[in-house]
Symmetry: D2
Subunit: 321 residues, 4 copies
């Protein structure tokens, strides 16, 4: 089988680095180029120091189209600009964009959540990779939306520092963030829009409304969500909805045991656990914001685009501790 | 003024240790004895190593009644047993119990949340010191209860490892807890009972119902709560309710700026912040589980019992970082 | 090529868990059985929760010899006992022992540090896998020993909590270990013996003496060592000694840039950096104590034993953050 | 007794913040002004958020001389500039400088290590407060220097992130520093000069030489040092040297038990522990870099300057956990 040639735009950031870490070990992919304006000419190991000994690749500042797929790992707004500079498409090169620029119904783009849109992704030209919080919250709610059970949902989530990217700021300073917790973007996180879009895709009637309070967490990787809602079904029925929905989806796992964040850190998995008392349901979901929440899901989407095993290059050793 | 003579029962645990740390620097108190069966005869610095150089006190296994106040810092169930072994009272010695044994309407006991029951505490014989989560959640809801505004409340909270005491367990192991998050006692935390009792004390009608998901956090000290609820008042009115309620209470501070957990670590403060979008309100509250959530509040109660300045011995230097 | 059938004795501990994580993704190995007396009958995911969705394997309490290699992941002393119960050998089954029981010149055993004994390992029947601190310190000193340059060496090292295993103890409690540092086994760490044995293997004359102070660190994975010594060679000569020594060894990398611990966490690498001022040399070395310091190196040894690519199954995605 | 009026120059940084935290609770001091050019006019609680509810003070950008003592908490180089702008002195106002600008024998300045120069400090006009690493290393070596026993000393130290100040940099980013360790300024740390100056003050003959490798640690507060050296005295004799030297010094404590970093975090103490095997001695020392290593020691020096109890305002509750 012909190997997939991949290009990475914005290879010096966190998601770009994860793309490199994943693709250099992917059994069916070769990295053709890694674009980074500010680091052009430098070895990637200068920026991503953990890759010392693993790769001789260097950053460059030229993009070329002799690739099969390109990953856009640039900032929000930058992806759209990059596309416009190239006439809106790349001459048959497939595109997977990790920014939020094309997630909300942009023509020609498929929203890249495989558990929701797997078949559409397989034949897409352009995939808008979901946000990290958006993935974690949606995977906890999609089976309920499909059953038409969603009303008001009260979600609280916590995210690692890598979710905020590598730019320096007061709240990314170690002295501030270590041992600290803080809410931010309360009830107004930008991912609520794509979440709403997906829920309405599955649940036409009623008005699913997610009220979301995100917290900054004292760790580097991972997202943990607890979503509280009222549901008029028995625990067995609810569990059945989830197990049916995720049957055949290799990375989303409905656990009957308590889950914890570190079970998924450095993997492409999303773990889900249900707890119910009477009609009050709590759905816990956990994933690694840089993998299932970003670059891992992008590779999963690439696998679907090229007809590869959905898990190729994604059977990762968990950090575990 | 005569100095207060204090005894500590259960001085080897976390809350007992904090009692010692607070009382050795309290301007109006002398520690008469520190009881610990398992450590009798040992210097307290063997158990509480940070006290090296600060105290020559030793643990003993005898209790004597030549004290003015005794703090029960033993486990849940143990406090009641200890009281029973002494005929239910200590001959005029005032009692402050940090366990949950007497919090739910036990005859002769006052629930020791100064922001709720300050006057009753001043003249009490026995004070049941509130739970840590209970304090944090209540302080975020009391002004709303007083205004009769509470219905369903969806709270998520995160606590440091010291909240679980010093016993060894899988989830207290550093290799497990570092960089981890896990929900536990979902919708069934034992503090919900005392929370409900306090809310009903202020709000007779309606049915305030707190749905609470606690998380184990990746830090040692502190609790952070976000409580979500619907409220039909403007943000200004809601803020007014809180500012009025806590006027004159020195440790509960309504902040107009974003709050974070480390602002309160190693202090006796509870910080509260309100955020509202339309009729959706989120109340954040933060405190140190070992201080305002346990031993600090116990000292605050002692100050009230003996007519001392409510903040005596509690103007603590925050850890800050 | 015939696949390697592997058995794991002591699969419920930290190193046993890492063996499973590595072998289920190894391209040339099948796990035949995972032995754990205390967990026999349970799915391995009950103990190693991060493996949820990855494996259906269960623990058992019977060992069978239809395997090609067996990994002993039991405690110090237990490996020797297990061998004795089986007559000292396993009928042609190769053995890799991760305990310290056979590291000090036990007849029939090869000390499994590939950078020192690669050819002997290829044809061994039984391999004694080195200790974690021992690996990190030796890899920082072997090129100097080979050049006969070692005298007094002053080493300080820091290790993650997983180095102490999963047993519960005061110093493994999160509330104690978080944000803490403590020295232990000062000048008397048990790994000094195997270090001395290796150094004398390369440097016959002079008396290399390693004075070692280990610290407990505030993280779960990894070892970082700084070894200080006097050396009468130029920085270029010293660098040359290291680069020559490790040429062709895929996992030990001599870096010309500053190294940090997280570059190696969740990988099988050892990074080395040299800094010299006049005749004072400092050698920094870093590795993951559970991988290059234990289970990863065991897989590396297995690869050598069976003529596989030395890096098979060990091209791991770093945790990086 | 007349209260001491204090001014703080550079009140927005880490050491300035600690000065405020200490002085607002000091029994004999009033803060007259807090100078910060960039924050003039703002409440100090905007910068030091943990002080919410504790103080109404605001920053200003004017310095006035109606104070008894001024603390210079500005950056290295800035203190000297500030002094020059004011003609080199402040008209009888005593000065305590926390930068390194006047530590190396500047005329008119006393090196402010009370354990070394207590009597000189009492009558000084200007005190150069020692560096954090410098304090920790010196307190571990001074008794040996006084006995003339020092030769080559091999020290390794680890410091919290607050030691690097609040400026943003790659190595202060949470995503980099969490769970990480890195050496920096190997063998060339700027504090080696003031250490050498103090050692030569006590040991005229021989050539004490400290070879020092500092590490960046994964915590916010604290320094832990292990210094290795050869010494030809018995453990009892060495212990005696330390106990005699520090008799009467309230903050430096020679422990006969293992010490750990958190024993001193958020206190003004320095703990010292000795371990010896044959003629190899290891001295461990630990302190809080912002307190005994900076602002706490500055208050200790102020207490000496004004004839106050040396521990006034410095009996701090340890964070302990």
């Amino acid at each position: 089988m012909r190997r997939v040639r991949a290009g990475i735009i914005g290879g010096a950031g966190y998601t770009g680095g994860e793309m490199i870490r994943l693709l250099i070990n992917h059994p069916a992919v070769d990295i053709s180029f890694i674009h980074s304006k500010s680091n052009a000419g430098k070895p990637v190991t200068v920026v991503h120091e953990d890759l010392a000994g693993d790769t001789e690749l260097t950053f460059n500042d030229e993009w070329h189209s002799e690739v099969d797929v390109v990953f856009l790992c640039v900032g929000h707004g930058e992806a759209k600009k990059f596309m416009e500079e190239h006439g809106g498409s790349f001459d048959g090169v497939l595109v997977i964009d990790l920014s939020q620029d094309f997630r909300l119904g942009a023509p020609g783009w498929v929203y890249g959540l495989p558990e929701l849109n797997r078949e559409e992704i397989r034949s897409a030209q352009a995939v808008a990779n979901p946000g990290c919080f958006a993935t974690a919250i949606q995977l906890g709610l999609l089976p309920l939306a499909k059953a038409g059970l969603l009303g008001d949902v009260y979600s609280t989530g916590i995210t690692g520092s890598t979710g905020a990217g590598q730019s320096l700021s007061t709240t990314s300073h170690f002295s501030w963030r270590a041992n600290n917790i803080q809410a931010y973007k309360t009830l107004s996180h930008q991912h609520l829009k794509e979440i709403g879009q997906s829920l309405r895709q599955l649940q036409a009637s009623g008005e699913p409304a997610v009220h979301f309070t995100p917290w900054r967490g004292d760790f580097t990787r991972g997202i943990f969500i607890s979503s509280q809602l009222r549901v008029d079904r028995s625990p067995e029925e609810v569990l059945g909805l989830f197990e049916n929905f995720y049957k055949g989806h290799p990375f989303t796992i409905v656990s009957r045991n308590p889950i914890s964040l570190k079970q998924v850190v450095n993997t492409n998995k999303c773990l889900i656990q249900l707890e119910q008392v009477g009609s009050q349901l709590v759905v816990h979901s956990a994933l690694d914001n840089l993998l299932k929440g970003a670059s891992g899901q992008a590779v999963q989407n690439m696998n679907l685009l090229f007809g590869l095993d959905e898990t190729a290059g994604l059977r990762l050793k968990a950090n575990a501790f």
